[in-house]
């Protein structure tokens, strides 16, 4: 019975190191694959002493779809649809990251306008991703309303996607060599309304609802803390690493797509607990808004795609009139244009961290080998260590704040 009264003081960071005597009878709890808190399909087998977790082990791969294998047969432009399905909460970032990788391999320079549009879309995606993570953290602690307030804003972001590319979740946005279409006036109006008007208001309200709410703060402060060193050893990147106090951000360290043009801060946390992760994500949404505003204000004129008729589809009316354009159209669609041989590693700052594409080309129409560095997959390993010695409620909060996306986990 006294086990029930444990987590005596889980807010104690020492709780992680509390010795556990092996003579007690442990129970095994299957958290998942279809537990309401797993938000996707993966399993945690927890060994529990009362409500305290002694050890855990994850089983993943329930939605493994062999993307890396499929990619070996697909022409480059078709792989975009695979990247959509990795971190489906922020698929534009994956799309753009992939396009940039291929552009790097092909040696294509994208015009400034396209780069800015990409930045806008990526930051919108980041906001959408962080909205999900933070509001679901609220749901997992029992506060449902905040979730729906910010989800309306996510809905607006999805409407912008719709306007830009025609889909909401699996966007398939952008093309190799630029964007598939320019920002429409409607899209610009919607983005402006979002970042100047509605999102700041709603986000401020969301923060008011949670940031200093003692029930919520008590639930997440000092829950699942991880030091910066340990986080680096576990390959943490993105908000989860920044919460641990390391200001590593690919956008700043290795600027891609004109990120060097924008002024923004990197929010970092204190001791890498769930509260820090929550606050870092919240703060990053503000920073993303800042970036979008700058990008909108300084949006350069010019083409939205690179003038590379080998890789970017010619305009439709040219296809009918112009023999050359028709040939290129066919060659690009058939995937008959060979890429140069070489190996590229390109990283972008995804919603959850460094999203890397390691692409080996043997000079053919498809990648010889494509490896996705999926941040969720890499940092989710640390979960058993982070939830050792805490109660099941904490374990769920930690899992939720890590923002493990099953699609990205399993590829």
């Amino acid at each position: 019975m006294e086990d029930l009264l444990i987590p005596k003081n889980t807010s104690d960071a020492l709780a992680l190191n509390r010795p556990i005597v092996e003579d007690t009878e442990f129970t095994t709890l299957n958290l998942g694959p279809t537990h309401p808190a797993t938000h996707g399909i993966f399993q945690n087998i927890l060994k529990m002493d009362g409500e305290k977790i002694v050890s855990g082990e994850q089983t993943i791969g329930y939605i493994h779809r062999a993307f890396e294998k499929i990619a070996e047969r697909r022409p480059f432009y078709q792989i975009t649809t695979l990247t959509d399905r990795m971190n489906y909460c922020s698929s534009p970032i994956n799309n753009m990251g992939w396009h940039m990788t291929v552009e790097k391999l092909l040696g294509v320079t994208v015009p400034k306008r396209a780069q800015y549009i990409r930045v806008i879309m990526m930051e919108l995606a980041r906001i959408a991703d962080h909205i999900i993570c933070n509001s679901i953290l609220g749901v997992d602690t029992g506060a449902y309303s905040g979730f729906l307030y910010v989800f309306q804003e996510r809905e607006k972001i999805y409407e912008i996607y719709e306007e830009m590319c025609g889909a909401r979740l699996t966007t398939n946005m952008g093309r190799i060599g630029g964007m598939e279409r320019d920002l429409s006036p409607t899209a610009i109006a919607k983005i402006k309304d979002l970042v100047y008007n509605s999102l700041p208001k709603v986000l401020a309200e969301f923060e008011k609802l949670f940031n200093r709410n003692r029930i919520f703060v008590d639930r997440i402060v000092n829950v699942g803390p991880i030091t910066g060193e340990r986080a680096l050893e576990y390959g943490f990147t993105g908000p989860n690493l920044r919460a641990a106090g390391v200001d590593y951000d690919v956008r700043v360290m290795e600027p891609y797509s004109s990120y060097e043009d924008f002024e923004f801060d990197i929010p970092v946390g204190h001791n890498g607990d769930t509260y820090d992760r929550f606050m870092v994500r919240n703060q990053e949404m503000w920073e993303s808004m800042k970036i979008i505003r700058q990008a909108l204000e300084n949006l350069p004129e010019g083409p939205y795609y690179a003038n590379e008729n080998h890789y970017y589809l010619p305009p439709k009316h040219d296809v009918y009139k112009n023999m050359e354009a028709l040939i290129y159209h066919f060659k690009i669609v058939m995937g008959e244009i060979d890429a140069p041989a070489g190996e590229v590693y390109h990283a972008v700052e995804g919603g959850n961290g460094e999203l890397g594409f390691y692409l080996v080309s043997d000079g053919g129409r498809a990648p010889y080998r494509l490896h996705f560095r999926r941040p969720s997959f890499i940092y989710y390993q640390a979960y058993p260590e982070m939830c050792k010695g805490v109660s099941i409620s904490d374990a769920i909060v930690i899992m939720s704040s890590l923002n493990v996306i099953a699609g990205e986990l399993d590829a």
Partner: protein, 165 residues
């Protein structure tokens, strides 16, 4: 700190054991062998100026034409403080797919190595739990090897109304 410096330092330290230096898109790439890989990684990790303290990625590759070194294990390290990346490759023979584990240096290598094992069958010696991770445990082959090509999209001998040709 430039790629040149790193390369020179490594050559003085490891001599013949590091070779094939390349710089595709500015990313220093080198090849070593499995006897030296862990010591090399440790050296880079603990080096006073280089400080490659972050294992970005670990993956495998299958090159069936490279007789004698069909399989490659590719490490991407990142020195966060210097903001320099390095790519290290180790090639293994098809008959002897053993390589020491990097989990002793980075716990994050755990799942990456399991994934590599899962897809390529490369055995990481000393790994705490080298079992399949994404595929089912009953699987008896390593799917990312090139001898298992995806079906040709144009073949017509296998028509299934719902699940493809």
């Amino acid at each position: 700190m430039t790629n040149q410096q790193i390369a020179e330092d490594l050559v003085t330290k490891y001599g013949e054991n590091v070779h094939s230096f390349e710089e595709p898109w500015g990313l220093l790439t080198l090849t070593t062998n499995r006897q030296n890989i862990i010591s090399l990684l440790e050296y880079l990790k603990k080096h006073e100026t280089f400080r490659f303290n972050f294992l970005t990625d670990l993956t495998g590759i299958h090159l069936p034409e490279n007789t004698g070194s069909e399989f490659g294990v590719i490490y991407h390290l990142h020195s966060l403080e210097n903001n320099v990346r390095i790519r290290i490759k180790v090639f293994l023979s098809q008959d002897d797919l053993h390589i020491p584990t990097a989990t002793t240096l980075w716990p994050t290598a755990n799942w990456m190595e399991r994934e590599t094992y899962d897809f390529f069958g490369i055995l990481f010696d000393g790994h705490p739990k080298l079992i399949r991770i994404l595929n089912i445990e009953e699987m008896d082959y390593f799917p990312m090897r090139k001898e298992y090509p995806l079906e040709d999209a144009t073949r017509e001998d296998k028509i299934d109304a719902l699940f493809g040709r």
